[in-house]
């Protein structure tokens, strides 16, 4: 009787929800990375292994979604565009550790979790772009607070994960008090309220609204290959900060396995594929990032920007300070 009631009440729901059961060999990916970036990789994977890859793309809110879905979540693999999100997922106990010698060996130690819950796939630098008209400069992130840059600095929202990671690294290096002061001074130096995205800041430099901006490395390559944006990129130098001390701040795009993954075996296979040489090469060429696997070269264009010293602070350390970074940003009212 209860069964009958259940069916009559909830079957209609299934029509609205478009729910349907699935059964073949497959793996479900929740990705922060945009589809056009990852689809070529997945197609190759399916060619090789006959495992179908279902991708759902989310610009925001993946962790919250996973948390809500709980043990009924269909997610196997999670792809992120920065370290903070991976740590967040782990903090919410949404990941499981993957025991894979392949993964452990392919990836440098500082770019994977000690407990095997997350793995980097590519690295990117948070550069400082500077107007060519300033001439060549050698900057540290700390210099952004310098009086001489008053009214000449542009950046996207302080609360964007890329910036949050940078602030967290500042906290790891200098402590809370210094970082709060640094934030206030940088805010003071801003030419305009934080707005837009990383490329938008370079556009602002081109328009002479400011001279210095923060931005990830691969955007430079992207701008150079876009007709409209090449004009902006041509007017800036891409600088690797802190070369005289600890090195430039690194972030990663990474992968992790969901705690309740229904297709764990397939998931692991996909993860191992993503660190394979061919896959890493694809990453390097398509998105102009630095492949994480040693021995796989960056694309020619990216290599032309020069070698650099990277901050070797373990990412886990940086990620630990994420929440603190957010609080400091609020205290400095950075975005307001």
């Amino acid at each position: 009787m209860l069964k009958k009631l259940f069916i009559t009440l909830f079957v209609p729901l299934f029509f609205i929800t478009g729910f349907s059961a699935t059964a073949s060999e497959e793996v479900n990916v929740y990705s922060y990375r945009q589809p056009f970036l990852v689809e070529p990789l997945f197609n190759k994977f399916t060619e090789q292994t006959d495992i179908k890859v279902n991708v759902v793309f989310a610009k925001k809110g993946m962790a919250e979604r996973l948390a809500r879905e709980g043990k009924y979540s269909p997610a196997d693999i999670l792809l992120t565009t920065d370290i903070s999100r991976l740590i967040e997922l782990r903090e919410k106990d949404l990941l499981q550790s993957v025991n894979s010698p392949i993964l452990n060996n392919a990836i440098p130690k500082q770019y994977q979790a000690k407990d095997n819950t997350w793995f980097a796939l590519t690295t990117r630098v948070r550069n400082i772009y500077s107007a060519k008209r300033l001439g060549k400069i050698d900057l540290n992130y700390e210099d952004l607070a310098d009086e001489k840059y008053k009214g000449r600095v542009c950046t996207r929202s302080g609360k964007h994960p890329y910036n949050v990671a940078l602030v967290a690294s500042m906290v790891s290096e200098h402590g809370e008090a210094y970082t709060l002061d640094w934030l206030k001074k940088v805010k003071h130096n801003l030419a305009r309220k934080p707005q837009g995205n990383d490329r938008g800041q370079v556009q602002a430099i081109h328009q002479q609204l400011c001279d210095i901006s923060l931005g990830n490395s691969y955007y430079f390559g992207k701008m150079l290959s876009d007709e409209k944006q090449k004009v902006w990129a041509d007017e800036v130098y891409i600088n690797f900060p802190n070369q005289q001390n600890r090195g430039a701040h690194i972030n990663i795009s990474g992968v992790a396995m969901a705690k309740f993954s229904p297709n764990a075996k397939n998931a692991q296979a996909l993860m191992e594929f993503l660190v394979s040489k061919p896959a890493q090469k694809l990453y390097a060429e398509t998105n102009m990032e630095y492949p994480v696997r040693e021995g796989v070269a960056a694309s020619k264009l990216v290599a032309s920007w020069g070698t650099y010293k990277a901050d070797t602070l373990p990412l886990e350390e940086i990620a630990k300070n994420r929440k603190v970074a957010l609080k400091l940003l609020d205290q400095a009212k950075f975005d307001l």
């Binding site: 209860l2 069964k3 259940f6 909830f10 729901l13 299934f14 609205i16 929800t17 478009g18 729910f19 929740y30 991708v55 759902v56 793309f57 989310a58 610009k59 925001k60 809110g61 962790a63 919250e64 979604r65 809500r68 879905e69 709980g70 009924y72 979540s73 269909p74 967040e88 919410k92 929202s157 609360k159 305009r192 309220k193 934080p194 707005q195 837009g196 995205n197 938008g200 556009q203 602002a204 328009q207 002479q208 609204l209 929440k323 957010l326 609080k327 609020d330 205290q331 009212k333 975005d335 307001l336």
Partner: protein, 542 residues
Amino acid sequence: MIALYNSKTWKLSSYIIALVLVVPVLVMLVGGVSTSTELFTHLWQTVLPTYLENTILLAFWVVLLSLLFGVLSAVIITQTNIIFKRQLRWLLLLPLAMPAYLVAYLYTDLFDYAGPVQRYLRAWFGWQSPNDYWFFDIRTLAGASVMLALVLFPYIYMLTRGAFEQQDQNLIRASRLLGLTAKQSFFKVALPLARPAIAVAASLVLMETLADFATVQYFSVNTLTTAIYDTWLGYGDLGAANALASILMLLVLFVVLAEQRSRAGLRHQSARPNLQRELIKLSISEQVIASFFCWSLVILGFLLPIILLIVMAIQYSDVAQLSVLLSTGINSLKVSFFAATIAVVIALFLGFYQRLHNDKYRDMPQRVSGFGYAVPGTVLAMAMLSTLGPLDHWLNATAEFLGFTAPGLILSGSLFAIVFALVVRFSAIANGTIISGIKQIPQSLDYAPAALGANLKVTIAKVHLPILKPVLLMAWLLVFVEAMKELPAVLLLRPFNFETLSSQIYQLISDERLEQGALGAILIVLFGLLPIILLNKSKDKS
């Protein structure tokens, strides 16, 4: 009134339906109030006061500007002999079809440093860099206020115009015979009498402003709404987000209560008002000024944006976009279709319950169910998530208990959440339209068929529903269009890889790539025009 029907099941179902529509908001409120996170204290000590201040300032300026635009244009149209009055009369309604975030993007494009206006100015005056001249920055609180006022003032215009047009002119004549000039009569009689209508419209504008998310986000103006979004997705703290949403709800409640009180001022009006009025004759210079004012509103609020969109569409559209347009369009249609149909069915159910029963609180279910309109989309999304998530888990657990395989997240992870949210939000529209339609049906028609031997179902099906057809259509259409345009709730609730027209357009805007979706944007505007045209037609008929 004799109760025609006294069905306990009908009564129970009505209350349950109303409750279901209200529960998510209650859950959110409870969640927000019981949250005692240090995060909230932290927010309160740092950025929350600024969020609040921005929210209140924004609301203040938008209402002020909308009143200025709306009341003034209504006065010009109803009291004077302005040239092209017939056309202006309905043209002034058009900005309603424009989503505010669309206008915001288009004008930013226009007035930005790299935009045509400044480029032209620089070329003309030979300026080289931004330091050579001053130009206003549109991406500010002031800019956002103007954008919102431009697309929201038609609410005030429409209701004020209606109030003036329905006024008994004998009141003005009486005032004049008592010694007041026409102008004095306007200020001492016509305007005060229109005040309740103006107040209702202003509270509508206020609610829409508090609900706005996309415009303020695009302009980097940090209000409570953006804070809710960020807190949930940035801090990942649902409790704190709920707390913020509750504060927003309080503000909205305040507005709603204020509006109810002013509604009490709608006093009785003559059954046969004298509508023949003496128009103020404008001099040539007055005609010029008045026309300039009205036409500026029309151009800035609708014509210019739509032209910019069309130009964009012509320049940038390609075949690839059409397929994207098709799929997002279908998604929008699907979701809106379900929402509209369900809302109308519920409204009918509750409306007839109210009509045919006699218990004291019979209009409660309908009133309560309409409360969702005041709830901003973002807040509603929060409420949905807080309610449907646990519900889903319970469902799954129950299913397993009964021996089925767990169906997964059919409520919170699917269209159900969006459709539910849209129904909650827009039930008020369906209710209002259908209730007033039912009121028009003479009481005798309730009883007559019974005398001929027909039972209630037949009566409703064969007598009432056919009479209600135009009203049903109107209600359905209104909910359908509002659902098409809704953004914040959709953004937060949609399943992955599910874009509607509105979310797609918004995505493109935040990537500064609207050109790719100009066609879709035009489509949204066209849909928005539909109810305006229909409303206009029906008003002229009545």
